[in-house]
Symmetry: C2
Subunit: 217 residues, 2 copies
């Protein structure tokens, strides 16, 4: 935390995992400071000794809050939910909470890690677009089907949940990798509804302190 | 659930994600039935129409319980924790819970997905051993460092938690891929302590209904 007691978010404007946490902070009206970690510049600032001491996984986001540092976006969001429960990002009903966590983990464990920067580097420039498209499409095929039984206005029912915080940044990644989203009408529809909400707008990659001028909204 | 009301676990003996859930079920003394899903045989039974209807992600584990089907191992474990809280797999203190979830997600999102069967197929036979070793080593380097500040007898303090349910199966994968575990003394030590517990033994890949005779303990 800063001397003023504000939490500090280590974030990169285009990181989908950072965006998830930014949405949670916005929804819960938690005032925070951003320290940008540029994943490209200087060979990747996440590899600096200073940052590695903070997060040995060399990934954003990391959140300094209440005297501790938490890494892994879902762990951060669950902590915020337990310590700042209003508005809730997990439903009261355990079965609905299970749906929220299932969708969140499907995206955070089943899609995003396979199309993140470090994996695409390994895959090589030639194959990386096809690789990312295949990964995202395969996950979205499953998600579109699951949403048929869980979704209302949003991923699970009519309240914004942690699952929605995962969905919107993943759809943005899908757009960057030119995935045909017309194949996923439910995902697209929910994404559109969520992007109309203020918390999803202020946290958007196009409006961060480290967003390059040419990408600013 | 079966007619007798028992939960049904769709599992593959060697799947590290299935093992996580088997440990949770054993620790919480939840009686269940196993339906094996062979990820290799018949081109992969997870691709059958029947199984896809159950889990569109075409992955094990899936758990039928209380009239619902839950996929994604961490979502299943969190549901079991909320509905069958004894013994607890998450500490009471929110900061310690954050550590448990951080380590669980580091493994479940940051290591395992990058060395699972479907990714290794994409990577190709020649490169897959090096790929898996690099992924696991990179994750274990981070984890070894994190454990310096969280571990007691187990990953977080002296009580078995969800983090431990993720650790042991991941170490087994590391052994299969011949990762040099002497580089990770804390991980190795905790793993050894956990493997001495009955819940980790009865759930072990060498003791499942679908374990091939030549691999049985």
């Amino acid at each position: 935390m800063t001397e003023s007691g504000k939490p500090i978010l280590y974030s990169y404007f285009r990181s989908s995992c950072s965006w998830r946490v930014r949405i949670a902070l916005a929804l819960k009206s938690i005032d925070y400071e951003t320290i940008p970690v540029n994943l490209i510049k200087d060979g990747g600032q996440q590899f600096s000794e200073e940052f590695q001491a903070l997060n040995p996984m060399k990934q954003v986001p990391a959140l300094k809050i209440d005297g501790i540092t938490i890494c892994q976006s879902l762990a951060i969001i669950e902590y915020l939910e337990e310590t700042r429960p209003t508005p809730r990002l997990l439903p009261r009903d355990p079965k609905k909470r299970a749906s929220v966590r299932m969708i969140s983990n499907l995206i955070a464990g089943g899609i995003q890690p396979l199309q993140n920067l470090s994996v695409l580097k390994e895959v090589g420039q030639e194959k990386q677009l096809a690789w990312a498209q295949k990964t995202i499409s395969s996950g979205f095929n499953a998600l579109e089907q699951i949403l048929q039984s869980t979704a209302g206005k949003y991923c699970v029912g009519d309240e914004v949940s942690m699952a929605d915080l995962c969905l919107v940044p993943q759809v943005a990644n899908a757009e960057r990798f030119k995935v045909d989203l017309t194949l996923y009408p439910t995902i697209s529809h929910i994404n559109k509804s969520l992007l109309a909400l203020e918390a999803f707008q202020v946290s958007h990659p196009s409006r961060q302190p480290d967003t390059p001028p040419e990408l600013r909204a």
